[in-house]
Amino acid sequence: MVDENNTNEQATDINAPADNPVMVEYVQQQGDADMIKFGAAARWATKKSLWMVHFCTGCGGIEMSPLMTSRYDMERFGMHSMVTPRQSDILLITGYVNIKTLKRIIRTYDQMLDPKYVIAFGSCPVNGGPYWDSHVTINHLDKYIPVDLYIAGCMPRPQAITRAFTALMDMIQEGKADGYLRYKKNLEKYRANQEKLMRKWW
């Protein structure tokens, strides 16, 4: 049985050679051994049915409403929103992130199952945006959780978000969307950055 949050002890390098005993245990724990053979088919299935967490973290959440409903239908790509992070693949960070929200975002991201992707909307996760000198908002989201794709704008329109979704699907098909692998590889550094901000977790 795998333990609850598999990102703590066994933070291994997935590029390690196959006879490395640590790599073998990682593969057996993850149940990956058969899926490695079906890599391209698994990636196609992942890209055609991405489910997002229904957690609209900031001011960009207002652009999700026309995107999810009949106007700019996102379900034709196979995407729809799920209510728990355990069932979803994509986390959308829509807008600025302050420390309170960052704590919840990290908890949500930790609960999602691999493979998982993060898309950051707007200019605030890139370099702080209009809130760069505020005492509660963070300026670079990439220091705390790995981000696969940024969408510029304040707020990006649904057409731009749709274009980003198709770009993410291309990245998944080519195998370049590896945020979750980077997170596992550099887990100590990410956790150190997160611990500098949060004095207590709950």
Partner: protein
Amino acid sequence: MSEEVFARKISEFPGSEVKILRKGQIAVKVPNEKGHDAAVFLKKMGFIHLASIEYVDWIKDNEFELVYNLWSYRHRLTVFLKVRIPRENPNYITFMDIWPIAQTHEREAHEMMGIVFEGNPELTPFILEDWDAPPPMRKDFDPKKYVREKYDSIPFVEEEK
């Protein structure tokens, strides 16, 4: 009833300075120790709704100013009740016995400005989480320095991204 009528009635309170700001808004300044009695006086006149308690930092006068935003449903008028307190060791009396909702606003003023309200049972932080610096809404708090020290000092995880 119009603003002039109310201004005349309010200025009967001893020590108050009344000014009509614009249509529908009256500002009343009272000395520090008479604030509580002025609030009771205004509530009896019909200003029964406390909309918010605002805080101003007059750093050159070395004083804080508390502004109580009162509204009267019947007369459709706003009264700003202004009180000045000293900047060193700022504390004031609580208005919870007049309006129980003042507890939440005073909690925010305590967290953002550092003003202690005697009689308020729960002055715990609720907006800022894990805050470790002086109260942020004071004018001598430098947010750019704080951001540079706290956030920009955190290293990126991978240098080439």
